[in-house]
Symmetry: C2
Subunit: 239 residues, 2 copies
């Protein structure tokens, strides 16, 4: 099956968690809004009157007759389709639980630079962003990273969140570590020694042949200050 | 099976979305932290060293050998178990997609009074809360309510988000309408005429015998200023 991914064309954003799963599996997919139809084609499908199940926002995935929205939901579906999730019910729910916690982390990362309104520029909420990000750096980053470190400590196989095989939450954890290093290099340098298991997941994912090839390709959009992970030096700090 | 729900004992919070599903289904369940062991019993299970799959935060549900965390994930599981979700794959994914969008709405409702940090009191982030809530009232409430109105308009059967039977997203939409009316009575009075289908879902859920009995019982914790939906008059307004 050829999957159609619909997401903004200029950012990694939430779509990147889907792209990483498709790339790791070597799936046949097209990143529609980066093709000839552009984002207009995406908006047309999202707003079409004859779509029975419209998405609230990108990303969404077309898979045969299904149109699936919400990042974690798409990964739940693809995890089973692409062999990137445990097959038993308990394992599939556990993978999804981890993904939803990673999604909460992503929401909080986004809100560091947009604590007041997504519709406003960062420059219009700079004072609030500074205050929110201080709490994020000091309290929330250690809380989330510590949680995943604890989960990893309870899994006998090093380098994976679940069992001894790669699952989609590993890919998402990789993306978050990479993004945090881009956005908050000083803070991540200070925190990294405390979370060796999290970093090991990152390193193992980065070395997978298909992921390495993807990261080196033009398909990987560079980080920039329009996405979730933004580098504003005034928001970073060692503590 | 007797389900064990673990959630804070003094608020509706995110646990309420689970309680409504259990109550509607007439399921056998115990609300552990409201029992003799209190929240200490919940914290013990969450932090136990021998739990292979620890939750990041309440709520979580014990169902036989499974311990499931993340509200939407619990509902995905219970939806299938309790007959509160479509049985086909596409329908189950669609129900979950709607639930995840409702969860995003809930996150934004929470952040109206806590735009800077969950660990701070509302009183310590009042100015930022006022600014965030103005955007929430004017832009985000119509955006989310309009989305669910649109979804409902595409479903032939009135009063339900999916097909012609109650599913768990109907229960969650009911809870959100009820909570928004508590938190923002002026704004909801102004918006209500524009979203008749959303209100119809609310009204139908409220009249279901088991839900009506639950709402009138001491099991339903009253809204208060510790939960997600808080009534601070200075944050409300007709527009």
């Amino acid at each position: 099956m050829r999957y159609e991914l619909y997401y903004w064309s200029g950012i990694q954003g939430r779509g990147e968690f889907i792209r990483l799963a498709l790339e790791e599996a070597g799936a046949d997919y097209v990143d529609v809004a980066r093709g000839p139809g552009g984002e207009a084609e995406m908006m047309r499908l999202m707003q079409a009157e004859d779509i029975a199940r419209p998405a609230f926002a990108p990303p969404f995935l077309k898979a045969g007759d299904l149109v699936i929205g919400q990042t974690a939901n798409i990964l739940f579906y693809l995890g089973a389709e692409l062999g990137l999730a445990p097959r038993d019910e308990g394992g599939a729910l556990w993978a999804h639980q981890l993904q939803l916690t990673l999604a909460d982390f992503v929401d909080e990362i986004h809100d560091t630079h947009h604590p007041i309104a997504s519709s406003l520029y960062y420059e219009d909420q700079r004072a609030e962003a500074r205050r929110r990000t201080e709490d994020f750096r000091r309290a929330r980053m250690p809380k989330y990273l510590g949680y995943f470190e604890r989960v990893l400590a309870r899994n006998a196989a090093a380098g994976h969140l679940i069992g001894n095989q790669l699952t989609y939450p590993d890919l998402s954890l990789f993306q978050i570590v990479t993004g945090l290093r881009y956005a908050f290099p000083q803070r991540m340098a200070a925190l990294t020694p405390h979370y060796p298991r999290v970093i090991a997941v990152h390193d193992q994912v980065a070395q997978r042949p298909r992921i390495a090839a993807y990261l080196a390709s033009p398909r990987r959009i560079p980080f920039n200050e329009h996405g979730i992970f933004r580098h504003y030096p005034e928001l970073d700090g060692a503590d």
